[in-house]
Each structure stands twice: as structure tokens, then as C-alpha cells.
Amino acid sequence: MKLVSAIIKPFKLDEVRDALTGVGVSGLTVSEVKGFGRQKGQTEIYRGAEYLVSFLPKVKIEIVVDDSQVERAIEAIQKAAHTGKIGDGKIFVTPVEQAVRIRTGESGSNAL
């Protein structure tokens, strides 16, 4: 099993979720994060004090999938989250050794 994490633009969340369910991913977990990268932030001005807000709002999606699903999931995310403008985000894949469904105690792929 792998954990596929994707950092995307917030307004793409619904599209990415739909794309993922489209390729058979049945569950995902989302968090609000702030990203720093090539995309430049905004300047805010308050009574003459300027702030360069370098952190931009992003959304992180985490899905744990069977090894066999990884490629499809990455593809689905990339397509749905793509706008072609700087700041579209990243996808990272890390290994998962074990998974448990709390409700039933099932583990491994059955837990997903």
C-alpha cells in the first residue's frame, strides 16, 4: 500500500475528489494547509505597513491505496488539479506498511 499525498489549489478539491472516486478510490482525507514555493504571494497593506504574505492557501489530500492503484490515482489527481499556472502543487508517494479499519478491525487492503 502507498500513501499518495497531493497539495493542490483549494478550488480544485471537488474536481479532484470526483476524479479519484472515478478511478475507484473510496476514501480520502483532506486538510487545509499553507504552501510556500515558486508561486509568489500577495502583498497586503495595512495603514502603510506592507506585508508580503508568502504562504498561500492550499489543500492537502491524502489517500492510501493499493500498490496497483497508485499510478491511476496520480494520473487522476494530476489531470483534475492541473491549471497550468504556477502553484498547481505536487504529488508525493510514500510507503504504507499497515492499515486498519477502526470499525471492523480489518487490516491491509481490506481496510481501505
Partner: protein, 438 residues
Amino acid sequence: MHKTVLRIGAPLACMLAFVPAVSAADKPQIDTGDTAWLLVATVLVLMMNIPGLALFYAGMVRKKNVLATAVQAVAVAALVTVLWFVVGYSLAFTDGGGLNGIIGSLSRAFGKGLLGSVHDLAKTVPENVFLMYQATFAVITPAIIAGAFAERMKFSAMMWFMGLWLLFVYVPVAHWVWGGGFLGAAGVLDFAGGLVVHLNAGIAALVCCLVMGKRVGYGQEYMAPHNLVLTLIGTSLLWVGWFGFNAGSALASGELAGSAMLNTHVAASTAALVWMAIEWVARGKPSVLGILTGAVAGLGTITPAAGYVEPWAAMVIGVAAGAVCYWASVVLKNQLGYDDSLDVFGVHGVGGILGSILVGVFATRAINDVAKGQPVGLVDGNGGQILTQLYGVAAIAIFCGVATWIILKIIDAAIGLRVTRDEEVEGLDTALHGERVQ
């Protein structure tokens, strides 16, 4: 508030003329309409402070300090009310005999002798209503100062400062200008508190910034207002409450109150638009905070003039307020480098000075015949009033600056003014009050 009440065909007058038998000579004639307006104006000015000013400031600080900032206005309201009732009102608004140029007497301490009485400045309103109305001014003036040292002062030091400043700065200054003291006697005009409230609070604020130093991280860390919705609510309540402040200062319900209300509204609106326009040109975007600050600058600046000038002059004063306070808060502050957290000096102090001087220019007997038919301001042909006004500005600024500095130094020596660096970093809500907004 030094003014003659212009009332056309005043019913009281005609009744007195025809009903001498009622022994009108000894008993004050209460007017229910005037009293109703003063009761309401009292409510409005208190609402300016809580929740108005509390929210205006709370929205501009960082989230970790929002409760500590907002509660200052409430705690000050409680403290000042008690002090005002116990001695403040009496010292400010009664005749001090030989010392009357400087301070009043204790004859009204603890509300003694209020029943059945009226104050000379408001002869158709029970004196207990006048005391309450003035209490709300005494409350909001120190509360305004709190914006200057937001996010770094100890709560205990804040309470001591507010109590001492009320008694040793606000009370005498109010007496000088409104209560029979030397500035009023010298002809200094201040309709609703450009000198007594705004200049006074603004100078104190500047001294506080200089004595207390900058916030940790000032100029480096992100200190943007955390929730301008709160500031917008606060500004709105300040705006509507200011009608109680300025139109209430007519101390009667009638045309003069109407003039003060109209002037207030026109000046606030104009200043908001001017600040917006300057920022739009200079920065490319009109900020919400700018529009709100412009309105408050207009309100503060028209305050001393509200019941003396014609409405076209209020518009001119609004333009000046928007431009000059913008410059003071945005340009001057950054050049001088002091950390006035919420721009009390730039908005209230500068607005108070500006408005108090412009009274000398635009005050006219057509609106308020304070000089019994003689010309009042420059537009009436009396340029000397400008000098009189400058005299008032200088006297109060110097006294307030020195006295505030002394009070701060005493408190600092006794218990310390600032929270620790760790507490400041942690945030005052948890550090001072053990609470936080989730």
C-alpha cells in the same frame, strides 16, 4: 459645548412669559423632549465604547490578543464610571471657587445634591442625566488611548494608568474647557470634544508609544489585522453613536442638534471617500481598513466643530481630515518609527488638532451665536479665533503630554508597564486572562 441653545419659538419661553404664577423662577423647567434626547445620546455614546470601540480595536490586533484588547474598553467603562460618580464629575463640572480656573469642587461628589437640580450648561435637563451623559465622555476618552499600547501592556498597569489619567488629566482638561476653567473663559471653542477627548487621548497615546516601546517583532512579523469584520462593526457603531456624541452635545433637541448631526455625517462620509481615493491612487487598491479609518478620522475631526459650522464647511473639514490623517498614520508614523499599534495619535490626535484649528476658521454665528451677535470664526471675520484655538491646542497638548509621561513613569517604577517577552509572544488572551478564542 460652550454655546447658546438656538431654539426657535421655544415653548418654555412663551410659557414662562404667560404663567408667572407657577413660581418658575426657582424650579428648573425640565423639557421632556430635550431630556429624552439626552437620555438617548447617553446610550449612544456608551455604545460607541462598548461594543463599538472594543470591536474597532479588537479586529485590528492579532488573534491571540483579541479578548485582551476588547476587554479593555469594558474594564475602563466600569472603572471610570465609578470614579466619575465618586469625584470626577464634581471636580470637572462644578464651580471651584478661587481655583475655578483650574479645577472644580467636591460639592457633587457621590452624586450629592443632584435631585431637583439642573446644570447651567443644560438648563432643561435633570442634572443626573447631564452627569450620566458626561460620564460616557469620561469613559471613552481613556478607552481610546488603549489602542496605542495594544498587544503589550499589563492589565494591572492599564487599570492604574486609566484611573490616574482620568483624575489627573481628563478631569482638569474637561474643567478648563467646559466646566468653567481658564480655556473656556479665554474663548476656546470645543463643541463636543476635539480638544478634551480626541487631542487629549491622541497626545496621551503618543506618549504611551514612546514610553513603552515597540511590540516584539514590530516591522518584521506579520501583524495584519486578524478580522476586519469586527473593525467594520466597531466603526459602524462608532459612526452611529457619534450622533449621540456630537448632536447630543447640543444638550437639547432642536435645530442645533440637527446641524451637528448633519455636519458629523457629511464630514465622516467625505473623509471616508477621500482616504479611499488617496489609497486607491497611491496603492492601487482601496482597502477596507482605509475606508473605515477615513470615516473615523472625519468623525474625530468634525467633533470640535460640529455645532459651530455650516454643512459646506463640514465637507471641507472632511476633505482635510481624510488627507491629513492619512498622511499622519501612513507616512509620518513610518518616518518617525514609533509603534502606535492602532494609530490613535494619527487618527484621533491629529484629527483633534486639525478640527480644533478649523473651528477657528469656519465657526459662524449663523449656526451658533456663541459671541452674542459678534463674529465667531474667520468666515465671520474674526481671524483671532484661530489663535485662541491654537492656544487651547498648545495648552492641553503640553499639559497632557507631561502629565501622561509622569503617570506612566510612576506606574512603570511601581509595577512595570509591559508584559514579559514570553507573555507577549504567547498572546495576552491566555497570558493575562486565561482565555482564548477558538
